[in-house]
Amino acid sequence: MLLTSATEASADLTMDFTLLENSIVNIKWTYTKIPEGR
């Protein structure tokens, strides 16, 4: 089976990689904890 999506995760960040129709690539990252800026 072809792998069409993948996830890289660390303690505070998750990155999702997905191959969509028409060979469109989507990279999305979400912070589970947004670092304080100040």
């Binding site: 660390s10 191959l19 129709e21 989507n26 990252w29 947004i34």
Partner: protein, 214 residues
């Protein structure tokens, strides 16, 4: 971007392998992740070098790999009046206003543009059979943002740094044989214009040009 406003279909396409289009390198010591996006010719078209996200600040550092045989760089981002749509070195703000004859200088403070679209395209490296390879990228980000463009014609690389007042990372990449195919695929993500209803084609009263109601 709330999915209630733009509901992107993120169903994985089962016909091809993700690994043919994305290469993820993770540094064993630091854990740092670098990402490369490939076209159908296995040429790298985009490198995600790094990113930062803090309260009210979102920075993405990337490299677009444009054709170095006939280098022009990237175009897109906003509507402007120009004889050359490819972007020179500079900083460009995505900040729209009802602006007549908008034109960018690449210098801060940046000019208002008539419309802005966080989407770019470039000509990549041609295929072995001479077929043109075009690439496109869309940053699904609605916050105020500046795009810093640095061209290197000798390597064919465009360093693209974006600075935004917020938002998360949600990037889309397209490949095609010409700009039309890039735009067509872009519209599969952001949607197509709505067909105007017949009743809207009747009398319209616009206030533009009126100084008073007298």
């Amino acid at each position: 971007m709330p999915t209630a406003i733009i509901d992107v279909d993120r169903t994985p396409f089962e016909g091809k392998a993700l690994s043919d289009f994305v290469v993820i390198n993770k540094d064993a010591k630091t854990g740092a992740v670098t990402v490369s996006v490939l076209d159908t010719n296995q040429n790298v078209i985009y490198s995600l070098n790094g990113f930062q996200l803090m309260q009210d600040f979102n920075h993405i550092d990337a490299t677009v790999h444009a054709d170095n045989g006939n280098f022009k760089g990237i175009m897109g981002i906003f509507e402007q009046v120009a004889s050359d749509l490819f972007l020179k070195d500079g900083i460009y703000s995505l900040w729209a206003r009802d602006e007549a004859d908008p034109a960018q200088t690449g210098k801060l403070p940046s000019s208002n543009m008539y419309g802005t679209h966080p989407m770019f395209m470039a000509r990549g490296k041609d295929g072995a059979d001479g077929t043109q390879a075009w690439i496109g990228g869309f940053y699904n980000l609605a916050n105020a943002q500046d795009w810093r463009v640095m061209n290197d014609a000798s390597s064919g690389e465009v360093n693209l740094k974006t600075y935004s007042a917020g938002g998360l990372g949600d990037l889309f990449f397209f490949t095609g044989v010409d700009p039309n195919e890039i735009v067509t695929k872009y519209h599969t993500i952001v949607g197509t214009p709505v067909l105007t209803p017949q009743w809207a084609l009747g009398w319209n009263q616009c206030r533009w040009g009126y100084n008073s109601t007298a």
